[in-house]
C-alpha cells in the first residue's frame, strides 16, 4: 500500500509542478514528489510481494538517476539558450552526467534479454495507455464548442496597446 501511495504522490507532484506558475498549487508539486520518494524508500512491512523487487531496482538506480537529473538541471540552466551561459555550472553538470554513466554502465552490461523484452513491452504498453488518453482528449475537444466571442477593446485598452506597439516597433523603426 505504501508503494502505491508513494507512486501516487510522485505522479501528483510531477503533474502539479508542470502546471506552471499561474496555478498556486504548482509550488507544492516538488515537495509532494519528494515526500513520495521518501515514502518509497522508507521501510514498510507490507512491501514484501511483488513490489519489493521494484523498490530494490529503483534503489540500485537511485545514484545514477540523481546524478543525471541534477547534471541535466545544471547544464540546461547554464546553457546560452536560457540567458547568460555559466561555464562553472556547465562543467559541474557534465561531471555529474559522466558520473551517472559510470554508475549506470554496470547495470546496462548485466542486462538480461528477458528483462529487456519486458521493458520494451512495458514501454509499448505505456505508449498504448498514452494513445487511449489522447483519444479521450481528442473526443472531448471535438465535442467542445466556442464559449463566446470576447468583447471589443475599451478606449483605455486601445490606448495601452497603441503605446506598447509604438514603444516596441517605433523604436526599432527609428533604429533602422
Amino acid at each position: 500500500m505504501v508503494f502505491w501511495l508513494s507512486l501516487f504522490l510522485i505522479f501528483a507532484g510531477i503533474s502539479m509542478h508542470r502546471m506552471g506558475p499561474s496555478f498556486d498549487r504548482s509550488r507544492f508539486g516538488l515537495p509532494i514528489a519528494c515526500i513520495g520518494v521518501v515514502f518509497l524508500f522508507s521501510p514498510s512491512p507490507d512491501s514484501v510481494h511483488p513490489e519489493a523487487t521494484v523498490i530494490d531496482s529503483m534503489a540500485s538506480s537511485f545514484t545514477w538517476l540523481v546524478c543525471a537529473i541534477s547534471g541535466t538541471y545544471l547544464i540546461v540552466g547554464a546553457s546560452p539558450n536560457y540567458g547568460v551561459s555559466n561555464p562553472l555550472s556547465t562543467g559541474i553538470g557534465w561531471i555529474l552526467v559522466i558520473s551517472s554513466w559510470y554508475f549506470a554502465t554496470p547495470s546496462l552490461i548485466s542486462l538480461e534479454i528477458d528483462l529487456a523484452l519486458d521493458g520494451i513491452a512495458g514501454i509499448l504498453g505505456f505508449v498504448t495507455g498514452l494513445l487511449a488518453f489522447s483519444l479521450g482528449i481528442w473526443i472531448a475537444e471535438g465535442r467542445s464548442s466556442i464559449v463566446g466571442v470576447s468583447k471589443p477593446l475599451s478606449e483605455d485598452e486601445v490606448r495601452l496597446v497603441q503605446t506598447i506597439l509604438v514603444r516596441r516597433i517605433g523604436s526599432e523603426m527609428d533604429d533602422n
Binding site: P50, N81, W94, W101, D118, G125, F126, T128, I137
Partner: protein
C-alpha cells in the same frame, strides 16, 4: 533459446496500467476550470478495467494481485532499460552546451 510470449504480454498490460494510473492521477491533480476530464478519465479507467480482466483471466491469483504482479514486471523492465535513455539525454545535452547556428550575439 525460446522467448515466452505470456510474460511479454503481461509486461505490456502492466505498462498500460502504469500509464493509465499516471494519467488518472494527472487529471485529478491538475484539475482546473478549463478542464474537460470526463472522456480522458473514462478512457483511462476503461483501459485499466479491460486489462485487469484479461490479466486476471490468465492467472490463478485474484484481480488485485494479478494487476500488482504485471505492473511490477513492467516497472522492473522499464527501470532496467532506463540507462539507455542516458544516451538520448547526453545527445540533447551536447546540443544544449554547443548550440548550432548561433551567430554569437545574444537576443535582446
Amino acid at each position: 533459446m525460446t522467448i515466452e510470449l505470456l510474460p511479454i504480454l503481461e509486461a505490456f498490460s502492466g505498462g498500460i496500467i502504469i500509464s493509465s494510473l499516471f494519467f488518472i492521477t494527472h487529471i485529478f491533480s491538475s484539475i482546473n476550470p478549463y478542464h474537460k476530464p470526463l472522456f480522458p478519465l473514462a478512457s483511462c479507467i476503461s483501459m485499466i478495467i479491460f486489462v485487469a480482466l484479461i490479466v486476471s483471466s490468465t492467472s490463478d491469483e485474484s484481480v488485485i494481485t494479478s494487476v500488482r504482479i504485471v505492473t511490477s514486471d513492467a516497472a522492473l523492465g522499464i527501470i532496467a532499460l532506463l540507462p539507455l535513455s542516458l544516451a538520448i539525454l547526453t545527445y540533447f545535452l551536447i546540443g544544449q552546451t554547443f548550440p548550432k547556428g548561433r551567430s554569437g550575439h545574444e537576443p535582446q
